[in-house]
C-alpha cells in the first residue's frame, strides 16, 4: 500500500505486527485513531504503557496481576485446598468464564518438552510442589493440553506428589483443553471441570 505519510506507514507497520491483524485492518485502526481527539489517543497509549510498566506476575499462582498477589489468590471466598494447574494465563481466563470453578490456579508457563529446550526446571513445577505442601492443598486438577508433552508433565508432577495425601484429577477426556482450552465453549468446559476424574483412570485414549 502506498501511504502519503511516513508517520502513518510506521504506525500501520506497528499495528500489523499484532496477532491476526493484517495490513488492511491495521490501516483501518490507524485511520480511526487519526480521527480521534489528541487526548483520546493519549489515553489509549497511556493505558498500554501503564499496563506494561505496572503489570506483575502473582507471587503465588503466576497469573498476571496488578499487585504482588492476584485478586483470585486474595479472594478469601475461594476454596484454598484445590489448585487447578494450567499452562498459561489464557487458560485461567477460559476457566474463570465458565463460573464452575471456585478454587485457586497455578500457571506453569508451559509444558515439559526437551525438544524445544523446556526442562522441568524451566516451568513453575517446583513452585507448585512447594505451594501444595505449604498451603495444605488436597486436590490438584491437571488442566493441561492433551498432548504427549502435557501427559509427560502430568506424569512427572504426580510422581513428585507420590506418597502425599493429595487427590490428583484431570478434566474428562474428549474435551479439548490446555492449549485448546480457550476455544472450547463455556458449557463443555464447565461440565468437564465438574466431571473431573481421578488421574490414572483416564489413561486409555
Amino acid at each position: 500500500m502506498g501511504y502519503s505519510s511516513k508517520l502513518i506507514e510506521r504506525t500501520v507497520e506497528e499495528f500489523s505486527q499484532l496477532p491476526s491483524i493484517g495490513k488492511k485492518s491495521a490501516f483501518r485502526l490507524v485511520l480511526h485513531l487519526i480521527s480521534q481527539p489528541q487526548d483520546k489517543v493519549k489515553e489509549f497509549t497511556d493505558a498500554i504503557n501503564h499496563m506494561k510498566a505496572n503489570l506483575k506476575t502473582c507471587a503465588e499462582c503466576y497469573n498476571l496481576s496488578d499487585e504482588a498477589v492476584c485478586s483470585i489468590c486474595k479472594n478469601l471466598s475461594r476454596q484454598r485446598t484445590t489448585i487447578c494447574v494450567v499452562e498459561s494465563v489464557r487458560d485461567v481466563i477460559a476457566i474463570e468464564e465458565t463460573d464452575h470453578y471456585n478454587g485457586l490456579y497455578h500457571v506453569l508457563g508451559g509444558v515439559i518438552s526437551p525438544l524445544e529446550g523446556i526442562g522441568a526446571d524451566d516451568i513453575k513445577i517446583q513452585e507448585l510442589i512447594d505451594r501444595i505442601s505449604a498451603q495444605g492443598v488436597t486436590e490438584v486438577i491437571m488442566a493441561l493440553s492433551p498432548t504427549i508433552e502435557g501427559d509427560t508433565t502430568i506424569f512427572y508432577i504426580s510422581k513428585l506428589l507420590q506418597g502425599k495425601a493429595i487427590n490428583i484429577t484431570t478434566l474428562s477426556r474428549g474435551v479439548a483443553f490446555g492449549s485448546e482450552l480457550v476455544y472450547t465453549d463455556e458449557l463443555t468446559l464447565g461440565r468437564s471441570i465438574l466431571a473431573r476424574v481421578p488421574y490414572g483412570q483416564n489413561h486409555d485414549k
Binding site: 518438552s113 526437551p114 525438544l115 526442562g119 506424569f155 485414549k205
Partner: protein, 373 residues
C-alpha cells in the same frame, strides 16, 4: 476398491488431466521421464496422503503455479467415494473424503487401502531395520487406528527422551523425569510389540502362499519377528540400559529396534538370493500385505506396480499377473517402459486390460483398448 477416475490439476507434470478407468488391469507406458510414475504417485497420495517419492508437498506443484489438486473417484461394493487432496503453496494440505475435511492427514490413512511395489523396495533386504519396520507399520496402520496412535505416541516420547538424554550433560540427571519417560513408553511399546508379533504370525502364512503361487519355486521362505521385548521386560531393560543411554545420548532399547528377518531355505535372504528370487520374494511380501489388509478391512487394496518387471523373467511376470487377476478383484496399475513386454503377457493370458501411452512432450494420454477378444 476400484478407482474409476482421476483428475489432476497442476500436479507434477500434469497441468490438467482427467482419466477414466474401466478395467482392473491398467498399464501406463511411455518413455522414461514422461510421467508414468507421477500418475502412480497421485494414486498413492490419494490413499496415503503423501507422495511416495517427494516428501515436500511444494515440490509437487507444477513449476510456476501456486497449488495442486488431485481428485479420485472410487467404487467399493455399491458405494462411491470421492477423495480430494488440495495443497496451496505455503498453505496447509487438505484431504476431503466425500466433501468432508479430514482433521489430520493420518485420519485418512486406511480409507482407501493401497499397496505399492517399486524398484527401491528391494532395499528392504539390504538396508537397516528401519525400512523393514516401516514396511509392516505402513500395512498395519491402514487398518489398525490404535496401532497408528500408539506408534505416534511412542515415537514422540522417544524423540523427547532422546532430547532429554542430550540435555542431561548440562542440566544434570533428573531421575523422576527420566523415569517418567520410561514409564510412559511402556504401554505403547507393549501394545506395538503384541500387534507386530501377531501380525507376523498371520502374515507369514499369507506370504508363503503368495510366494509359492508366483515363483513356482520350491524354496522354503519365511519371515521372523525379532524384538528385544520378546525376551526382556522393557521396564527392566530401560533401567539396565540407562548408563549406556546416557553416554550415547539416545535410547538403545525398545520396539524401535525391532526387526524382521527374511529367510529362504533357512538362510538369511540377502546373502543367498538371486535377483529374480529377491524380486519374487518382495512381490510376495507385498501381495501378502494386500491380503492381510483385505482380511482386516473388507476392502481390496489397490495395487501399484512401478517399474519392477525389468530383469524379471516373463514366467514370473505372467505368474504374478494371472495370479492377481484370477485370484480376486484387485485393481492393478502398472508402469513399464517396455510397452510390449507386459502387454503381450496380458494378451497371452487373456487378461482384459487398458493401456495408456504417455507422450513425452505433452503428458496427454492416448487410450487404447486392448481387451481380449
Amino acid at each position: 476398491m476400484l478407482l474409476q477416475s482421476i483428475k489432476l490439476t497442476q500436479f507434477k507434470n500434469y497441468s490438467a488431466t482427467q482419466l477414466q478407468f474401466g478395467e482392473r488391469t491398467i498399464l501406463f507406458t511411455g518413455n522414461n521421464g514422461a510421467g508414468k510414475t507421477n500418475l502412480l504417485d497421485a494414486i498413492y497420495m490419494l490413499s496415503l496422503g503423501k507422495s511416495r517419492y517427494i516428501p515436500r508437498d511444494s515440490k509437487l506443484i507444477i513449476h510456476g503455479e501456486d497449488f495442486f489438486r488431485i481428485e479420485g473417484k472410487y467404487q467399493h461394493l455399491s458405494a462411491t467415494d470421492l477423495v480430494v487432496i488440495k495443497y496451496p503453496k505455503g498453505g496447509k494440505k487438505e484431504i476431503l473424503l466425500n466433501a468432508k475435511k479430514r482433521e489430520r492427514i493420518s485420519d485418512h490413512v486406511g480409507a482407501i487401502p493401497l499397496v505399492m511395489i517399486g524398484p527401491r523396495d528391494i532395499q528392504l533386504f539390504f538396508e537397516g531395520s528401519a525400512d523393514r519396520r516401516k514396511f509392516i507399520d505402513a500395512g498395519i496402520c491402514q487398518y489398525d487406528k490404535a496401532y497408528l496412535h500408539h506408534l505416534i505416541t511412542y515415537n514422540r516420547l522417544l524423540l523427547q527422551r532422546n532430547s532429554y538424554l542430550k540435555s542431561i550433560k548440562s542440566t544434570g540427571l533428573n531421575e523422576a523425569l527420566l523415569s517418567s519417560y520410561d514409564q510412559q513408553l511402556l504401554e505403547p511399546a507393549e501394545f506395538i510389540k503384541k500387534v507386530r508379533e501377531q501380525f507376523i504370525q498371520d502374515f507369514s502364512l499369507l506370504f508363503m502362499e503368495a510366494y509359492k503361487s508366483i515363483s513356482g519355486d520350491r524354496e522354503a521362505v519365511s519371515c521372523d519377528y525379532r524384538s528385544q521385548l520378546l525376551t526382556y521386560d522393557f521396564a527392566t531393560a530401560l533401567i539396565e540400559a540407562r548408563q549406556k543411554d546416557m553416554i550415547l545420548q539416545r535410547t538403545t532399547v525398545g520396539i524401535h529396534k525391532d526387526d524382521i528377518i527374511f529367510k529362504m531355505n533357512g538362510q538369511v535372504l540377502k546373502q543367498f538370493g538371486s535377483e529374480g528370487q529377491m524380486k519374487s520374494f518382495l512381490i510376495s511380501l507385498k501381495l501378502a500385505m494386500k491380503e492381510k489388509i483385505k482380511a482386516e478391512t473388507g476392502k481390496t487394496p489397490i495395487l501399484l506396480i512401478d517399474d519392477i518387471f525389468a530383469k524379471l523373467d516373463a514366467d514370473r511376470v505372467r505368474n504374478l499377473l494371472t495370479y492377481i487377476h484370477h485370484y480376486d478383484d484387485t485393481q492393478i496399475f502398472i508402469t513399464d517402459t517396455d510397452a510390449d513386454r507386459v502387454s503381450s503377457i496380458l494378451k497371452d493370458s487373456s487378461i482384459t486390460h487398458e493401456v495408456y501411452y504417455i507422450d513425452e512432450n505433452s503428458p496427454r494420454l492416448i487410450h487404447e483398448n486392448n481387451s481380449n477378444r
